[in-house]
Subunit: 602 residues, 2 copies
């Protein structure tokens, strides 16, 4: 088995040298020092490498089993590994101190998340979902709900889930049918829920004492569509003293049960449940936030969840890199320059390896840049600074989610290819990474939905202002690169990408405001546009990395890390960016064939 | 379950309208009429749709099991489905009448292969390997071997395997260590083989009475490297009257046994075996062709096997299209133009559907064009015509193999994406297609090996002449398109692709002959170059399709097939080709970062 080594060196490079620890200078992070961050990264790496990573393959092989009665048995070791995480206090590292967390910057929390997902994505989903529940409750829950439930979620002794999807309601949540009936004749301020939710990640398990389900449901007489949907908290076990059931007994076990678990392509260690609410008297639930605003409340939280899914993709991509490099450095086939060689010596294999490495580096840098902007948006003293960062975050998040996960699938697939025939054998481990990665472009809003969010919503509402401001920063980087003769080639390539992106932006904005074609038309351009943005922003980050690495080399550093980073940057900008730039031509080609296309015609 | 419907209409379009049944006009195909071809396609579709396709999902779920003693149990129904194929005479359709086959053109045989692989790729591998054994024996076997073994292979009552790979010898077959010892002191002209072969497709099963293993092995005192390797035929069961074993008994069961089968990402219905030769007295084998020329003999046959793997990828891509279209036309989510809509109405989903369809159409047209050139290369009366076609085939085959299979993985992955969350659930069937497709870029020479074969070998040895002649034909198509005002936009896009390809070809040829960088340097350019060639040739075929479809529409046809084909062509040329064209920029960027890259550095 290939051991996992969380890429602490690269995290430190991005946090310290690319982002210059900007988050630590913000109000609220006075306690966090570079030394503390370094210690946190080292400690998280230990948990990831030594506790979580060794269970990744066995968890995939064993998978989860539903027991009679509705319980779910996790793969061996998962309960202990989750508890090691919770007892280490990791669940609260990004949660504010006011709520009982450790209040570390989002950049640091994101780095830790990536390590854990790289070590064991299926297990990493459990705290990822809990983080969503914490967000939802912290932002929208009543004081009573927060007091009762938040501390246990933050310490990780209880976990959370998100219950959105129903068989007829996936990307279109306006179709949710689960009912929530208020119970004025019963003691307490609660509802009873009836309905079925599908695809509930970590919906049932024994790793925590209790599970808190956040559930979208419809109140009686609520209007059709989005505005009739509210958000409810439905605990698996009710608190002592909670409302009693119709039969008079204390309702300790709530009326929610795992009806089945899915047999999936990957993430076998993560139980994906169908939850049945209200097979008897109704599952007791508490309203979170305002009635009728459930979707809004859910979306507050989803923005961050989407960032986390992007980070998850990067974690898996990192592990795919490590597998592929280890194999290529060990496997002897053919000759290079006349003598026996490992396949890492063959230029065509090097292309695959460097492509994997350069892309993973670039995606990581962009995701952490976005996390740093999240820190600014929340913590900067200046209102305008916060607003500007928030505007960037809004544009960046769909890109981080969709682009990172699409690329992660490609990187994991390349990882399989590097292994040749061994890559297709499950025991090797490369195939699992491809299977696991393949969910990330789908859940938490498909990548198509992300593209529509970017091109149809985020760009149109500010006329592209936030993206244009980002592009201006990319252009500044091209100028800095151009000032260094050794990097002038990169400057030219990146500048060409900037020009393409500006031209494409004009077209996409025109589409969105064209009264003839209507607002739907922009949908046709959304996916190629997001891909172009992703390529240019990743190339930008690698351009910045090249500046830093080049300066280090010029200053006399002989750390091979910098030489490798320069190669990554060169590849990302010269050989990867051109593929993204092609999306301008795709956008300019017009979309007549899509508009005319009748899928039923043939 | 989504039923499979072999795309007979599109095969007829390509064979009749794009290729104008050119193969039927060749000497040797006098018996084959368009009516006969049509009947063959319809009958093959029935076998594919009704017998093979229904076993695809169950075969994946059940997989193969190795029994104690070395036997392998296939999934339920596979034996019967294979026998229906063999008894229908399908195994011999592409084999010459002189050898007992039906002597139909390769274009027709390829169409039938695609249908069967689309229906059930795991099962399709069995006859695919047998076809390789037939080729090897027909070209290189002695008359005695041919007489004894060919008829049973052609009728399909016996099957064949290819035994190349050993743990230390994959892409680099010079490392083969299996030994073949001549036995002059025993009766008959045979060898005894000792060694282990891995990744042997359909290496053991009960669907046929006997299995003929074609095995690469080294004779005693043979030189190191490629020239020491010979090819042997090792039957699972010896013929009555064959040499007796050392213990004096009749060696009816040969000394070759299935030691294990692999647990793979996909094609679970295809047993991938480790075969152990000579655990006792040695497996009796017969030399095929000349001693020391085993690799050459194997490669004769491999060219065709590579074409078949490309076709296999297209079959799986076709099935992925059918799954995705069926789901998208059924699944209601969101609104389009103000009212409830199936997701096929959303432009972003249409992009995925049309991208899948356009690419599959294009790949099919190119693969069948290549098959038609194979027919010309073998059957044309004129020597020069045969030689020119053979030269094209040599260039086209690595493209058909690598480009079709890389694209098939992407198409199958898009198919998963169209299904949203359901795509990740194994029962849906979309994920299986991705898992199955993923082997095709690996086996029968990895796609990296194909790219090296094209850029490093095929192009360099004729200075790009055969490819240039193909590009000239593409250019002729751009002129035909330009003559039709409705298609002039396609003409411009295709012409731009031609210009890129010509420029890239110059660069790649320079690399191959540059004494400074040495012959290895071209490896760095091989994969992007193959991708560029694939995109341009596929766009070419769709340009030709657009000409035909446009003429049909102008002539008053209201067959929706032609309108759909025009949309496919428009998408392929305007929206898919630009992504391929980007490879010119990749190639022009130079490969310094690859040359400098040290995979061990970080």
């Amino acid at each position: 088995m290939i051991p996992f080594a969380a890429p602490v060196r690269d995290f430190r490079f991005v946090l310290e040298e690319l982002l210059e620890h900007g988050s630590l200078a913000l109000p609220g992070f006075e306690e966090a020092s570079p030394d503390l961050v370094e210690a946190v990264l080292e400690e998280a790496a230990r948990l990831a490498n030594e506790v979580w990573a060794p269970l990744n393959a066995s968890g995939d092989r064993q998978g989860c089993r539903r027991r009679d009665g509705g319980g779910v048995t996790l793969p061996d070791g998962f309960i202990e590994a989750y508890r090691a995480y919770a007892e280490g206090g990791w669940n609260g590292i990004g949660v504010s101190e006011a709520l009982g967390g450790q209040g570390l910057p989002e950049v640091v929390a994101s780095a830790v998340q990536e390590m854990l997902h790289g070590a064991n994505m299926a297990l990493g989903l459990c705290p990822m979902l809990t983080a969503g529940a914490i967000e939802a409750l912290a932002h929208h829950g009543s004081d009573a709900l927060k007091e009762t439930y938040l501390p246990r979620l933050i310490e990780g002794s209880w976990t959370g889930t998100m219950n959105l999807t129903e068989p007829q309601a996936g990307s279109d949540l306006s179709r949710v049918r689960t009912r929530a009936v208020p119970c004025p004749d019963e003691e307490g301020d609660h509802y009873r829920l009836f309905g079925q939710k599908i695809f509930i990640t970590w919906g049932e398990h024994d790793a925590a004492e209790n599970i808190l389900h956040l559930v979208l449901a419809r109140t009686p007489d609520a209007p059709e569509g989005n505005r009739g949907i509210s958000l409810f908290l439905v605990p698996k076990y009710l608190e002592p003293g909670s409302p009693v059931g119709a039969d008079g007994s204390l309702g300790e076990r709530n009326d929610v049960v795992c009806a089945s678990i899915e047999h999936k392509l990957g993430i076998h260690g993560s139980p994906t449940c169908t939850l049945s609410f209200g097979e008897h008297d109704g599952a007791i639930g508490y309203l979170v936030g305002e009635e009728g605003r459930g979707l809004n409340h859910m979306f507050t939280m989803m923005n961050e969840a989407r960032h986390k899914v992007g980070v998850q993709g990067i974690g898996v991509a990192e592990r795919a890199c490590q597998h592929a490099f280890a194999y290529a450095l060990d496997r002897v086939q053919g000759k290079a320059r006349g003598s026996e060689a490992t396949i890492s010596e063959h230029l065509d294999v090097r292309r695959m390896l460097l492509s994997m490495r350069a892309r993973t580096d670039a995606l990581r840098a962009l995701a952490l840049y976005c996390a740093a902007q999240l820190d600014v948006a929340r913590h900067a003293a200046d209102d305008a600074e916060r607003a500007a960062a928030q505007a960037r975050v809004e544009v960046l998040i769909p890109v981080v989610k969709a682009f990172s996960t699409d690329q992660a699938v490609e990187i994991a697939s390349l990882g399989v290819q590097v292994h040749g025939g061994m890559g297709y054998i499950e025991e090797t481990g490369a195939a699992q990474l491809l299977r696991d990665a393949r969910i990330a472009p789908i859940y938490e809003g498909t990548n198509g939905i992300q593209a529509l969010d970017l091109a149809g919503r985020k760009l149109q509402r500010d006329g592209g202002a936030a993206l244009t401001s980002l592009i201006d920063d990319v252009e500044a980087t091209t100028q800095a690169l151009a000032a260094n003769p050794a990097l002038a080639g990169l400057a030219r390539c990146l500048a060409a990408g900037v020009a393409d992106l500006r031209a494409a932006l004009v077209l996409v904005l025109e589409q969105g405001t064209d009264p003839e074609s209507g607002p739907d038309a922009v949908q046709a351009y959304a996916t190629p546009f997001l891909a172009l943005v992703g390529h240019v922003l990743c190339a930008w980050q690698m351009g910045r990395a090249a500046l830093v690495a080049s300066a280090a080399v010029e200053a006399g550093s002989d750390d091979p890390f910098y030489a490798a980073k320069l190669q990554s940057a060169d590849f990302a900008i010269r050989q990867w960016l051109p593929v993204g730039r092609a999306q301008r031509a795709v956008i300019e080609a017009g979309m007549e064939s899509l508009a005319a296309f009748d899928a039923a015609a043939r």
